[in-house]
Symmetry: C2
Subunit: 173 residues, 2 copies
DNA sequence: GGCTTGTTGAGACTCTTTCCCAACAAGCAA
DNA sequence: TTGCTTGTTGGGAAAGAGTCTCAACAAGCC
């Protein structure tokens, strides 16, 4: 397996990390007395070869397409491995409209999301102020904060333009 | 049906609203050309008789217990009506760990949640600053904000105490 | 190379939510 | 009030996401 390939493509958008994802995962598996198997390798390599958000179903589909023959990974294994990757801190899981969506966590800067309710696109932003606010609220309420989920709903720029165009057409009638 | 009874119990924790929930819902139904039926009345009355968070299953259960005979409401109707109540702006729906949870929206002040990952308890807080921050982020990104979901995860005070007790016991061994 | 034991994959299963459709009941009109 | 039209209900089946079971398999150790 080529670590360097994975490492390099990953480095494009990553903050500094000591190890490429697969090696990081191997550490985790070793620490837990779990085995480094072929399916786990295939899945991690695939997941970290690109940066989009994805869900389990899409992943199952893609793995089926890409490696139709011997390298396919079964559905239970996809779900199992995704959970392990979340446990290991390599992926982050969130649910958007009752559906589980995953994204890179390891080596990727902390951020929150803007969710366009029209086209479903997720975009990202980061705010230190939000973290400060969150921790302040926790302190006030005697709550030990370990994390948060913040999703801003609305309409993205592109969909706003579309809607305006639509509206203009209607106005002409 | 007694509006005043519903209205009074509701007023205890509400901000000012023009109408009790059932009347507000009737307006919505009328506007949509929908009918004011017995099941819808029973459900709304039950849901707005208390202020806790709840899920569809608990509601089905409670309605079955409370009105075993003719006044029970079927499962499909519970789901259908919950969706209508969300549409009408009377309830807010959120998913916590992939599970749909509902809470009062109409006449209830805006707030966000602290979620204890140990006992599952939800508590509430409000922050104007968060709203400002949210809108500022939206403006920056050319995103038209319509709402948000903010859940702070962690451990509530009670569970922190429990964990400490547990820990002390272990230390004694 | 052999052996132990964690892992995989097929398929069944669970859980939540929705769909289908025949029986029913709002609400309007006469 | 009665009758009629049409939206609504409830039972059961079905869909969709995710998990469980278990026999066959393959890491990793000796």
């Amino acid at each position: 397996m080529s670590h360097s390939q994975l490492g390099e493509s990953y480095a494009l958008t990553s903050v500094d990390v000591a190890l490429p994802p697969m090696e990081r995962f191997e550490e985790y598996l070793q620490a837990k007395g779990k085995r480094i198997t072929q399916p786990r390798r295939i899945l991690v390599e695939h997941v970290f070869s690109k940066h989009e958000h994805f869900d389990a179903d899409a992943l199952i589909e893609e793995l089926a397409q890409r490696d139709a023959g011997p390298k396919r990974v079964s559905r239970p294994t996809v779900y199992r491995t995704l959970n392990e990757l979340v446990e290991a801190g390599l992926l982050r899981k969130m649910d958007i409209g009752g559906r589980a969506v995953y994204e890179h966590d390891y080596g990727y800067p902390d951020h929150d999301h803007l969710y366009c309710t029209q086209c479903g696109k997720l975009s990202e932003f980061h705010s230190e102020e939000l973290i400060r606010l969150r921790d302040a609220v926790g302190r006030e309420q005697g709550f030990r904060v370990t994390g948060h989920k913040f999703i801003v709903n609305g309409t993205c720029q592109e969909c706003q333009r579309k809607t305006r165009r639509q509206k203009r057409k209607v106005d002409l009638i």
